[in-house]
């Protein structure tokens, strides 16, 4: 792993996970109030390491749900990671197996969004993520081995940094949750965070962004309609149908272009 990649990744992920501070703190409060022991509740952070799934699981377990239904809920909420895994795999096909097995543990939505956003050379022009070089810039100037080493460092560095910060924030919430008033509505930071990640993903699209907008509209609408479906499957259906809608829209637009362009 390239040390520069490690540093850039660790630095680059920070602005993307800063909005997760309220998420982590609110999750810590939920653990604090669930009736689970603080250590067991906090252990979800380093065992599962996925905020939405931890939230749902702690809630269910506090209500007396059994091991298998709680675990199934975690799997369903986290099923999107299969898609993230596949999306990221293309860039790391040549990386060593041991590195992949270790790094798998720290793969998160935000790493996915960050790597996705790096395709857009101007993704860092807001001053919040000053990346000295993006992996895709290096494709043009460096050799393949350097690019891979840089990307490996970048992904691992971003994942480890996000993991460490997440442990601290959730623990902070567990310990100090009692003094945070409910009236702050801190839980509302969660949808705002994911909305912003969605906007970044749409803006990072190369070329036409219409299929991405369609994917988001369908994904969001299906999830709203299916919000009362059991075990978070509304989210899963929304995601799958949104992806299909995006891919179909891209296909239709590409065909139209072929017809109109001589």
């Amino acid at each position: 792993m390239d040390p520069q990649g490690l540093r850039d990744g660790a630095r680059g992920i920070v602005p993307l996970v800063v909005p997760a501070i309220p998420f982590g703190v609110v999750l810590g409060v939920a653990i604090n109030e669930s009736g689970l022991s603080r250590l067991i509740g906090w252990s979800s952070s380093w065992i599962v390491f996925a905020g939405s799934a931890q939230f749902v699981a702690v809630e269910l377990l506090a209500e007396g749900t059994g091991v298998f239904l709680a675990a199934l809920t975690i799997w369903i909420v986290n099923a999107r990671h299969v898609m993230y895994s596949a999306a990221i795999a293309r860039r790391f096909a040549e990386a060593p197996r041991w590195w992949k097995l270790v790094t798998s543990y720290v793969l998160i939505d935000q790493s996915f969004a960050l790597l996705d956003g790096l395709s857009d050379k101007h993704a860092d022009d807001d001053g919040s993520a000053e990346l000295e070089a993006s992996p895709d810039d290096l494709v043009e100037v460096g050799n393949a081995r350097d690019v891979l080493n840089y990307r490996m460092g970048f992904l691992f560095g971003s994942g480890v940094m996000a993991w460490a910060l997440w442990q601290i924030w959730v623990l902070f919430g567990v310990l100090l949750g009692d003094v945070i008033p409910d009236s702050w509505s801190l839980i509302y930071a969660i949808p705002i965070l994911f909305m912003t990640l969605m906007l970044l993903a749409i803006r990072a699209m190369p070329g036409n962004s219409i299929p991405a907008v369609v994917a988001a509209a369908v994904g969001g609408a299906v999830a709203v309609v299916g919000r009362d479906m059991p075990n978070g499957t509304g989210l899963l259906f929304g995601a799958i149908l949104g992806i299909i809608a995006g891919a179909l829209t891209e296909t239709v637009l590409a065909r139209k272009e072929t017809i109109t362009t001589p």
Partner: protein
């Protein structure tokens, strides 16, 4: 309850790890069919939208849109505009939360 929780976290965590590792560690690029590859481009927008939209609209879903807009919806629209314009995550979050607090404080 604590041993049940620990067992559920371990089982859920193992599955989560295997899902994270699936394509990334066990199946290389060659095994992804082109049609799946095309679909993967839209994973981000679809998943993030499916997570945030139900939470913004609340319990009654799309029926909420027929009534007076809630502070959550107004705050999301304001934050969305800032996020689209600036692509700055912490700023967008701050604007969203401050908008929400102001709207709630004003009793709108």
């Amino acid at each position: 309850m604590n041993s049940t929780a620990l067992a559920a976290f371990l089982l859920g965590g193992l599955g989560t790890y295997l899902m994270r590792a699936s394509f990334f560690a066990f199946m290389g690029d060659g095994l992804i069919p082109p049609v799946v590859g095309r679909a993967l481009r839209y994973v981000g927008p679809a998943v993030f939208a499916a997570i945030f939209l139900p939470r913004v609209l609340g319990e009654s879903g799309f029926a909420t849109l027929g009534e007076r807009p809630t502070p959550e919806i107004v705050a999301a629209v304001i934050a969305g505009g800032v996020g689209w314009k600036t692509r700055h995550v912490p700023l967008t979050l701050a604007v969203g939360m401050v908008s929400l607090w102001l709207l709630q404080w004003a009793g709108l």
